[in-house]
């Protein structure tokens, strides 16, 4: 399964969500499908995408917040799962693309390549609705179910360790940040 195929499969649903991605392949590939003002790409600070999602989910409780994380980033901040579980924002979905690799720095294997199971860690942290998916059909079904459900969900999608040829796009970091903030504040009427 490829990350880009997964993103394509859920893109329609993402159009109406607040989306926070990590850096690297996810950010470049989602932009290649079409940037939207409700998409924020956290192009550094590995590990904090889910914390940002929690801050957003608590601030706009009537909007769906989708975090698109990765194994390398999540492994840097596993405590975030226990914090998410503590507050259980019903409007948040944590998607983890697990390619068992730190792809953008040369493909070094992460601990998920040696057996660490992020869905099990998520469940054991207190997020019962945690699953691992390996096909596009499974992924689409899990994601649609999470969008419809009123419960914090973690979806770990096992994907191949392949990505785009370059990661820098023509969307400046601050342009993305201010555009996104204006969009989310507009939703709150703030």
């Amino acid at each position: 399964m490829q990350r880009l195929e997964c993103l394509r499969a859920i893109y329609k649903e993402l159009e109406s969500c607040i989306v926070v991605t990590i850096m690297g392949a996810v950010a470049a590939e989602l932009q290649s499908l079409g940037h939207r003002p409700n998409f924020f790409y956290l192009q550094h600070a590995m590990g904090l995408a889910s914390s940002t999602g929690l801050g957003l989910a608590l601030s706009v409780p009537n909007q769906k917040v989708v975090v698109i994380d990765g194994d390398g980033s999540l492994l840097m901040n596993l405590g975030t799962l226990s914090t998410l579980a503590r507050y259980r924002p019903a409007n948040m979905i944590e998607v983890v693309f697990d390619n068992e690799s730190l792809l953008s720095v040369g493909g070094f294997p992460t601990a998920t390549s040696t057996g660490a199971d992020l869905a099990e860690i998520s469940r054991a942290s207190g997020i019962p609705r945690s699953s691992t998916v390996r096909t596009i059909a499974e992924f689409s079904e899990a994601f649609s179910g999470a969008i419809r459900g009123m419960e914090l969900s973690t979806i770990v999608a096992k994907v191949e360790a392949i990505g785009p040829t370059r990661y820098v796009t023509d969307l400046a970091l601050l342009e993305n940040r201010f555009q996104f903030s204006r969009y989310v504040r507009g939703l709150r009427g703030a």
Partner: protein, 179 residues
Amino acid sequence: MDAVEKNRPMPVSVANSKVIYQALKVCEIRVVSALPETWLVHLIRMAEEDPEMKLVRLAKEEEGVGISAGAHLAGVKSAMLMQNHGFLASVNGIVSFAQLYKIPLLMLISHRGTFGERDPWQTEGGRVTESVLRALNIPMERLDDPATVGRKIQWAQHLAESSLHPVALLLMRELMWEE
């Protein structure tokens, strides 16, 4: 409230914690992230008991940068309560999120390890905290007098919001500790 907070009364100033908390309310802070530390126990309790406040208890302080960033991007004002060692543990988040993306952070940092410190394990952090803040170009003020706390917190928040940059308020022993 957890058992430790309930069962181990410490000579932490309730009156001055109230002064600090009142200033956060005046600043219209609605989200507070925190990781418990002795000097912060009353502040955390006040945030927890306040129906207008969302308290986010963290596993590690750096998460608070993400929480505050998410809140700010949505137009919600937040503050971070942490010990200076928690600030030191948050440096990458501060640099490669808050500073990279121009996110204001109102950081209230208990400054352990300074004159009067009896815990050996706090002493190295006490020595380097202000130097690290200076190296990061983070404006800072010491809070040591309840008479000026309210104004300093408000002014710190004004600067954070106008500069879109982190600011630090160091909670000093004179303010927090009654021994």
